[in-house]
């Protein structure tokens, strides 16, 4: 077997084991929260009879290990069950929300990733000079601003003051693509602001690191233009750390944007998860947890694989 295939298979198997471990953590963690789903759903209106009825109906009286096994088996076969709180099919409702989240993450990434890498290259090219300082200063300022503050500022200026874009990013089925893009402009701006600095700084650092190498000096002595040196000789060797940080940020765009979603009323996974946590809707919480874990693990595996492929020493082992 080719070592790369073997490595990739190994990574995938490890990822799967990790996912199962996470599933146990999620399931028993959720079960350990104070108060059960029946109590949380009825809230102030709980009476002993209605509680007993609801527990019976929701199968909360079964032993916990049995419930875990049952749930994991269902998950493996794509049956996420039905939501305890409103009886809707989880796979369907999560699917729609996940689609929205990925849509937002995708457009934020499409803008942020090339922009961050380009800015990183420019900053490396003019290391220590004013373009570097300007880029670093601005991106560090935007990352230091808490997301919700950035969100409110953007909303106040662009939506409330100048009425350029909608303040709310509500999207729904049946909306045209341009309508959708118009709706998500503000959260995309905020997300780009948040993830830009991390990727930009990493690109800059990785390239500067490579620039110390002897072969860069050779390239410069050959008379190549500085941008050409960076693009053709330094960047390919700096890809591994850049890909890692890009993947981390992509994962963040999928699983970590709950605050931005709330501020812009965007119907993504974050708000969905929070609602169901408050209602102790365990099947939904667990499904969301698993999806988030899978996204994280998957993107990290992808980053590993890309780093391996980008590294000739790993690609062609002796």
């Amino acid at each position: 077997m080719h070592p790369v295939v073997k490595l990739v298979t190994q990574r995938l198997a490890l990822g799967l084991i990790l996912l199962i471990a996470v599933s146990a953590l999620i399931f028993f963690g959720v079960a350990a929260l104070p108060g059960d789903a029946a109590q949380a759903m009825l809230g102030q209106s709980a009476t002993p009879e209605s509680l007993a009825n609801l527990r019976e109906k929701m199968g909360l009286n079964e032993p916990i290990l049995w419930r875990y096994g049952h749930w994991l088996l269902g998950f493996a076969t794509g049956d996420l069950g039905v939501s305890l709180s409103n009886g809707q099919d989880i796979a369907k409702s999560v699917g729609q929300r996940l689609g929205n989240t990925i849509f937002l993450a995708f457009w934020a990434a499409v803008i942020a990733v090339p922009l961050a890498i380009t800015l990183g290259l420019i900053a490396a090219r003019y290391n220590g000079r004013w373009p570097d300082k300007l880029i670093s200063g601005v991106t560090l300022a935007t990352i230091s601003l808490p997301e919700f503050v950035a969100g409110y500022i953007v909303m106040y200026v662009l939506a409330v003051k100048f009425h350029l874009f909608p303040s709310m990013s509500m999207v729904f089925p049946g909306m045209g693509i341009f309508e959708r893009l118009n709706a998500i402009i503000l959260p995309v701006i905020v997300l780009v602001m948040v993830v830009l600095a991390h990727m930009m700084r990493m690109t800059r650092a990785a390239i500067l690191n490579v620039m110390e190498s002897a072969y860069i000096e050779t390239a410069e002595l050959k008379g190549l233009s500085p941008i050409n040196v960076i693009w053709k000789h330094a960047f390919p060797n700096a890809i591994a750390p850049v890909v890692n940080v890009v993947m981390l940020n992509l994962a963040y765009l999928v699983v970590g944007v709950v605050v931005v979603e709330v501020v812009f009323v965007y119907p993504g996974m974050g708000q969905f998860l929070v609602d169901h946590v408050t209602k102790r809707d365990m099947p939904v919480v667990q499904a969301c947890g698993m999806i988030f874990a899978a996204v994280y693990i998957g993107l990290n595996i992808l980053a590993d694989v890309v780093s391996i492929l980008a590294n000739p020493r790993l690609r062609h082992p002796k």
Binding site: S85, A159, V160, M170, V263, F272, D275
Partner: protein, 529 residues
């Protein structure tokens, strides 16, 4: 009426000046605030409604876990949504009178144990079927079933027998209840085809709007139901509710004109809103109240002197000013205010009195160990700040109050009705009997102060069947006084329902029964282009 006042009224009714501004200017013309409010309501109703357009509300209180099953409605968005697609037997007007809806006539026997509701002819469900008395009986029956988990279970429990004939429904009660029509106005009791037994969350009802899109926690859209019997409802062609739980986002949506009205204005920002052009704050005194509750059966609160000491150690006016931003009124340690019919306004207001509080406290011989008050902001907005104010005013009277912060998560299951002294919230009920029966009857499930008084129970049950208004009012006054002087309830304030709307919304009037014109703002208002 003077010419100026008349002009002012017309301007206000069209929404060109705000209600608050109108009351202010009318005051300058020598009209009392209450009178001005009543005048404006009449004028708003007299104005010719405009038809058409899309009316949008941005609301907090919606979750992705919401269902269209009316039995399960527990927060603001489902409450409003259900009243758009559904309708109840009767409604309660802003003046506290019964308004016939699906029932067109109501009559009872002499001791209020048997009630007859004549069902309006030709009312259509959205699926084309006609509303029949059998549908009404099936609906009520569904809510009596424990399995439906209905929030109206406590209401329908009092019905012993239901029957229907060609054009009416007869309800025989377990015991006489003069308030039964008010109970039938409960928002859970939406009449559904065959009672909604087959598909409780189908969203098919007899309301003025048909459900188009139902995306819980995101948005709910509706289109006008052409066959709705009541032409005074449903002016816009389409209405939408957008769920915006974030306070700032909701405000921004109103300011940017993406929605026409919003609910739940944070008292902290009312000052900012007043200066904003194109919109007005609509505040109405309701029946909801923020409370601190003591269990009367647990030490040290089993001693009435201790309860009195704590009741005297709270500064009510300060709380209304600081916690509610002035949009509310002081409470008097019983859960009834002027928004209820048969309220006795002659009961003296309890004031903050640290000296007397200390006297009562010293009488208890309490060992000086801290009295723990458990709070979370989930109990009511600003609960922690309110508890801190309480702590300060109690400390000034020498009472060692200690605050224990609890997580919002699980507050209603782990703290409320469990802890002996905690913060809580009550939304109020349409009539006094229902409020007392829900939370202060010895046997009530939600007796969250563990208040047990045989004499109180007897008077409450006797008042229920008393058809003589004068006698009934005296009985309620007695109940109020008993609770005020011996109960476990510390009631510092009644909160107003505070909403805001853009000036192009016409037809808005104050309704103390619930927020957003008791959930019917979208059906009763219209858009002035």
């Amino acid at each position: 009426m003077s010419v100026e006042l008349n002009h002012l009224l017309k301007t206000a009714a069209k929404g060109l000046i705000s209600r608050r501004e109108f009351v202010g200017r009318a005051g300058a013309l020598g009209v009392s605030a209450a009178m001005a409010g009543a005048l404006l309501t009449t004028a708003a109703k007299a104005e010719e409604p405009k038809k058409g357009g899309i009316l949008r509300a941005g609301m907090s209180g919606g979750e992705s876990t919401n269902s269209l099953d009316p039995a399960l409605a527990a927060s603001e968005v489902p409450f409003t949504v259900n009243l758009l697609w559904g309708d109840t037997l009767v409604d309660v007007s802003e003046n506290g009178e019964i308004v016939p809806r699906i029932a067109e006539e109501i009559s009872s026997n002499a001791d209020a144990t048997e009630w007859k509701f004549k069902i309006r002819q030709g009312v259509k469900f959205h699926n084309g079927a006609t509303v029949t008395p059998e549908d009404v009986v099936a609906t009520l029956k569904r809510h009596t079933d424990e399995k439906s988990q209905s929030g109206a279970l406590g209401i329908v429990k009092g019905i012993a027998e239901m029957s229907s004939d060609a054009d009416s429904v007869t309800l025989k009660l377990v015991a006489g209840n003069a308030d039964l029509p008010f109970l039938m106005a409960d928002y859970h009791l939406i009449i559904q085809p065959n009672g909604g037994i087959d598909a409780p969350d189908a969203g098919i009802g007899a309301g003025p709007y048909k459900v188009v899109a139902n995306e819980p926690g995101v948005r709910h859209t509706f289109e006008k139901f052409a066959d709705h019997w009541d032409t005074t409802l449903g002016h816009a062609d389409q209405v939408e509710i957008l769920v915006i739980n974030d306070n700032t986002a909701r405000m921004a949506a109103l300011q940017a004109g993406q929605v026409h009205m919003i609910n739940k204005i944070d008292p902290k920002i009312i000052g900012l809103l007043k200066g904003a052009p194109g919109m007005s704050v609509e505040s109405v005194a309701g029946r909801g109240h923020y409370v601190f509750i003591m269990h009367c059966d647990k030490a040290p609160f089993d001693n009435n002197d201790m309860r009195m000491a704590l009741k005297l150690a709270i500064n009510r006016q300060e709380m209304v000013d600081k916690i509610l931003g002035g949009l509310g009124s002081v409470g008097n340690d019983f859960p009834i205010n002027a928004a209820y019919p048969m309220f006795d306004d002659s009961i003296p207001q309890r004031e903050y009195d640290p000296v007397k509080a200390k006297e009562y406290y010293d009488k208890t011989g309490h060992d000086g160990s801290p009295i723990v008050l458990q709070v979370a902001n989930g109990a009511f907005p600003g609960a922690i700040e309110a508890a801190q104010l309480f702590q300060q005013s109690a400390n000034a009277a020498g009472i060692p109050l200690e605050i224990k912060r609890e997580p919002d998560d699980g507050y209603w299951s782990n703290v409320w009705n469990v802890a002996p002294f905690c913060a809580s919230y009550w939304g109020g009920r349409p009539v006094q009997d229902q409020m007392y029966s829900t939370a202060y009857l010895s046997t009530a499930d939600w007796n969250d102060t563990k208040f047990r008084d045989a004499g109180f129970d007897a008077t409450l049950i006797a008042a229920r069947a008393e058809l003589d208004g004068g006698k009934r009012k005296a009985m309620y006054s007695e109940l109020a006084n008993t609770l005020r002087d011996t109960g476990g309830l510390i009631l510092p304030m009644f909160n107003d329902f505070v909403a805001a709307k853009r000036d192009e919304v016409g037809g808005w009037f104050a309704d103390p029964n619930g927020e957003m014109m008791n959930g019917r703002a979208l059906a009763k208002c219209w858009l002035n282009a």
